[in-house]
């Protein structure tokens, strides 16, 4: 069983995926969040993720435990970067193995949605115009 992990530096996804391989699993769904070069119409140069490490790992593990109990999956794993990231860098990786694809897709979606909603990690974007700012979504979540 694999957990939620925070990574201070770039990480390899191949071993994460391999750890989820299982002869009972016919389906594997994964999601990656990459740093993109725009946000709400503004050009982005890069970003910084700050995390409350102890609570983020606890809450991330809670999300994975919920996914295991709600969906018929074999295993799931999530790794989230913190620190400085450049455009195109991998920010978050989610992988889920399951017997069938419905559960794999649903659990993968559940995990990334809950991680984004609940895990104490904050994004500070640096814009091409020199401005920068923390993203603190309001009561209505960003689309």
């Amino acid at each position: 069983m694999h957990g939620f992990r925070l990574a201070a530096a770039p990480f390899d996804i191949a071993p994460l995926r391999e750890a989820l391989l299982d002869p009972r699993a016919g389906a594997f769904a994964s999601f990656e969040g990459w740093v993109r070069n725009h946000h709400d119409g503004r050009a982005v140069d890069g970003l910084y993720y700050e995390a409350y490490l102890a609570l983020a790992e606890r809450e991330g593990d809670a999300v994975l435990a919920e996914a295991r109990s709600r969906f018929a999956i074999v295993d799931a794993c999530c790794v989230h970067r913190h620190g400085e990231l450049a455009i195109g860098e991998l920010a978050v990786w989610v992988g889920v193995s399951a017997a069938h694809r419905d559960a794999a897709f649903d659990a993968c979606r559940y995990i990334i949605d809950e991680v984004k909603a609940r895990v104490p990690i904050w994004k500070r974007e640096r814009y091409a115009d020199g401005d920068a700012g923390w993203l603190h979504p309001g009561p209505v979540a960003d689309p």
Binding site: P120, I121, W134, H136
Partner: protein, 81 residues
């Protein structure tokens, strides 16, 4: 009765407070009152309704009493992923 505790600040709260952590002598009855006191001191823009609060690395309730020696963190709206 006053208790001494430490407070962690993250993201925009840290920028506004100018520090990541501070030791606070707290006279407030609950964590909600503690945030109000620190919000007035540092000029935090975020209303308490948009925050969550954690004590010693686990989510807590706003009406919990501040405990001496504990580590309190105010959690602004998150934006990971």
């Amino acid at each position: 009765m006053s208790v001494q505790l430490s407070v962690l600040y993250f993201a925009s709260l840290r920028d506004a407070a100018g520090r990541a952590e501070e030791t606070v002598i707290c006279d407030d009855a609950d964590l909600r009152g503690l945030y109000a006191t620190l919000q007035a001191r540092h000029g935090f823009a975020l209303p308490v309704e948009q925050l969550r609060v954690a004590v010693d690395g686990a989510f807590a309730r706003w009406n919990d009493a501040p405990r001496a020696g504990s580590e309190v963190a105010f959690i602004p709206p998150v934006s990971g992923g």
